[in-house]
Symmetry: C2
Subunit: 329 residues, 2 copies
C-alpha cells in the first residue's frame, strides 16, 4: 500500500511513521517543495494520505481510501475532492497538552505573574502583596465557560474540578448527563455562557457554524473582567472584533495560541494578524505551541500509524469524521 | 481587652479587623513608625498582639495571653520573650493561592511559555511547534517532590492528582497513610526525594532543622533537568548554593517567591539577595506575592479575628503552635 505524507507538517514525521510501522507500507514524503508532476504521479497511486490540507488546488487521488488528518481540525480538507468511499479521519493526543496550557493561561491572569516577574526582575517590590502591593486573584471560585466539549473541553473540565471552579459549557452534541460540570447546553446557549463566565475557552472545531462565532456583539455580552482563551482556530473569533475588544478593554484580556496568518513559503515570518496584537499589554500570545509537546507527537502519531495499518489490513480505521458518498448504483 | 496590631503588616489590616470583630475589643495599631514610649505603654497592657515579628528588641508584654502571628511561619517570634502561659498561634488561608502558584510555576517550566511569548511578541515563530519549532513538555508523567506536607503540601498534591503526576513527600510528621501520593517519609528521606523529582517544592516551615536544608551537596543530588520551587522561606535554601546551582546549570531552573532580603525602613528597595539573581535567565522570580490574594486575606483574617474573640471570651484559641511554660510552683 502506498502512503503519501503530503505537505511539510506530515513530512516532518516521516522518521516517526517509519519507526512505528509494523506492516509493510510504502511511505512517500511529498513536501511543499516537491515538483507538481511528482506530486500528481504519487497521489494518482495513493491509497492513504496523511496531511493537514487537501483541496482542488492539488492533484486528484482516485484510489484514496484514507485521508488521515495530522491533527484534530479538518477544516482545510475539501471533502468534495475525495473519491467515492474514501474516509477522513482525524487524530487526537493533544488534549493533555492543551488542557495544561488552558489552566496555565487562567492562572497567569489570576496571579498577574508575568507583570510581577518583569517588575521584580527590574528591582521593584511594588507588586508584592507581602510588601504592601496590590492583592491578586485566585482561580478558585471562578466560572469557566467552555465553548466545545470534546476531547480538550473534557480534559480542561477534569483539571478544573480540583481548582474549585464552576464550569459551564456549550456543545454541538450535548451529553445526556452534565457530569462534573455545572450546566451544558447546545450552541444556542453561548450568549448565556458568555455573560456568566470569568474565563471563556474556545475549544470547538472550525466550520461554517463556528466561523466568527465570537463577534463584536458577543464580546459585549462578556463581563468586562472576563478573559478569552483561544486554543482552537483563530477564525472562530472575529479578528477585528478581538483586536478592538482588547484595545478598548471591552474585556480584560486574552490568551491566544491560534491565529489568522501563518508562515508560508512566500512569507515565512508574518505577524499573526493584520492588526498589531503584539502592541497590546493585555494579551498573552503564543505561536500555536499549546499542543506541541513530545507527549502529543508520541500519542498522536501512534494513533495515526495504527489507522494506516488498519486500512492496509482491510479493517475500518478509527476516528472517522467524514465518509465520501459511494457512487449511485 | 486590648489588642495591639504590632508592625506595618498587621496595621494594614486594621479596617479588616474592626469590620470582622463582633466582640468589644480595644484595637490599637502600632506601626513601625510609632514612638518607642507609646509602643512600651501599649504592650505593657496588651492581652493580645497580632504581629509577624516579636523579639527582645521590643518592649515586654507581661499581660499577654495570645501572640497571634499574621501568617503561617512564626520563625521571627522569640518565644523566650513571652510571659508564662502565653500562646503563639499561626494562621492559614493562603494554601489555595500558594498551591495555584506552585502548579503555575511547574506549567511555566513545562511549556516554556515565558520564552515563547516574548519571542512571538517580537515577531518570531521559532518557538511554535506547529511551525517547526522545538517540542515542549507536559506536567503529565512528571515526579513532584514535596518537602513539607502541611496545609500547602496537601493542596498542591490534591491539584496534581488530575494532572497525572507522581507525587512523593518528606515531612516532619508522617501521616499513617500516604493517601493520594506515591510515598511519604520523614525528613531523612530528602536525599532520595531530590534524586527522584522533576520538580522539588519547598513547603515546610523555617526552623533550626530546616535552615539551609538545601545546600550545595543536595543540589548535586538533584537531576540536572530538575526545577526547584520555593514558596516557603528563603533561608531554607542556601543562598550561595542556589545562585551557583542556577548559574552553573547544576539544575535546570527555579521558581522563587521567598527571599533573603526584604524592604526595610532604611532600605525600602533592596535587591532580594546579595547575589544577582535578576541576571539569571533560568529563574522565575516573584516578590513574595504567591500567597497574597483577596481570598487569602478574607480567609486568614476571619480566622485571626475569631482567635482574638476566643481569648476575649476566655476560650482556647485555634492553631496553637507554642505555649510558654507556666512559672514553676
Amino acid at each position: 500500500m502506498r502512503l503519501v505524507l503530503l505537505g511539510d507538517l506530515a513530512c516532518e514525521q516521516e522518521a516517526t511513521v517509519r519507526r512505528k510501522l509494523t506492516t509493510p507500507v510504502e511511505v512517500v514524503p511529498m513536501p511543499g517543495s516537491a515538483p507538481d508532476a511528482e506530486r500528481r504521479a504519487q497521489l494518482a497511486e495513493a491509497r492513504a494520505i496523511i496531511t493537514m490540507r487537501y483541496d482542488r488546488s492539488m492533484p486528484a487521488a482516485p484510489k484514496l481510501e484514507l485521508l488521515q488528518v495530522g491533527g484534530t481540525g479538518w477544516d482545510e480538507i475539501e471533502v468534495s475532492w475525495l473519491p467515492p468511499g474514501a474516509v477522513v479521519c482525524n487524530a487526537y493526543g493533544h488534549e493533555v497538552a492543551v488542557a495544561e496550557y488552558v489552566v496555565l493561561g487562567m492562572l497567569l491572569w489570576c496571579t498577574r505573574l508575568l507583570e510581577a516577574e518583569r517588575s521584580f526582575r527590574e528591582g521593584s517590590w511594588a507588586l508584592g502583596g507581602r510588601t504592601g502591593g496590590p492583592l491578586v486573584d485566585e482561580l478558585a471560585g471562578k466560572t469557566v465557560g467552555l465553548i466545545g466539549y470534546g476531547h480538550v473541553g473534557r480534559e480542561v473540565a477534569r483539571r478544573l474540578e480540583v481548582f474549585d471552579t464552576r464550569v459551564i459549557a456549550c456543545a454541538r452534541r450535548v451529553p445526556s448527563s452534565a457530569g462534573r460540570i455545572d450546566w451544558i447546553r447546545g450552541m444556542d446557549g453561548i450568549d448565556q455562557l458568555l455573560a456568566e463566565s470569568d474565563f471563556v475557552v474556545i475549544a470547538c472545531g472550525l466550520g461554517p457554524q463556528t466561523h466568527n462565532l465570537i463577534d463584536e456583539r458577543r464580546f459585549r455580552l462578556m463581563q468586562q473582567s472576563a478573559v478569552l482563551i483561544n486554543i482552537s482556530r483563530g477564525a472562530i473569533v472575529d479578528e477585528a472584533a478581538l483586536y478592538s475588544a482588547l484595545r478598548d478593554r471591552v474585556i480584560r484580556g486574552a490568551v491566544i495560541d491560534t491565529w489568522y496568518r501563518y508562515p508560508t513559503a512566500d512569507d515565512p515570518k508574518p505577524r499573526p494578524s493584520r492588526f498589531p496584537f503584539h502592541e497590546l499589554p493585555n494579551l498573552i500570545m503564543t505561536p500555536h505551541s499549546a499542543a506541541w509537546t513530545t507527549g502529543m507527537i508520541e500519542r498522536r502519531w501512534s494513533a495515526i500509524v495504527a489507522n494506516v495499518e488498519r486500512v492496509a489490513r482491510g479493517l475500518t480505521p478509527a476516528n472517522i469524521v467524514y465518509r465520501a458518498p459511494e457512487l449511485a448504483g
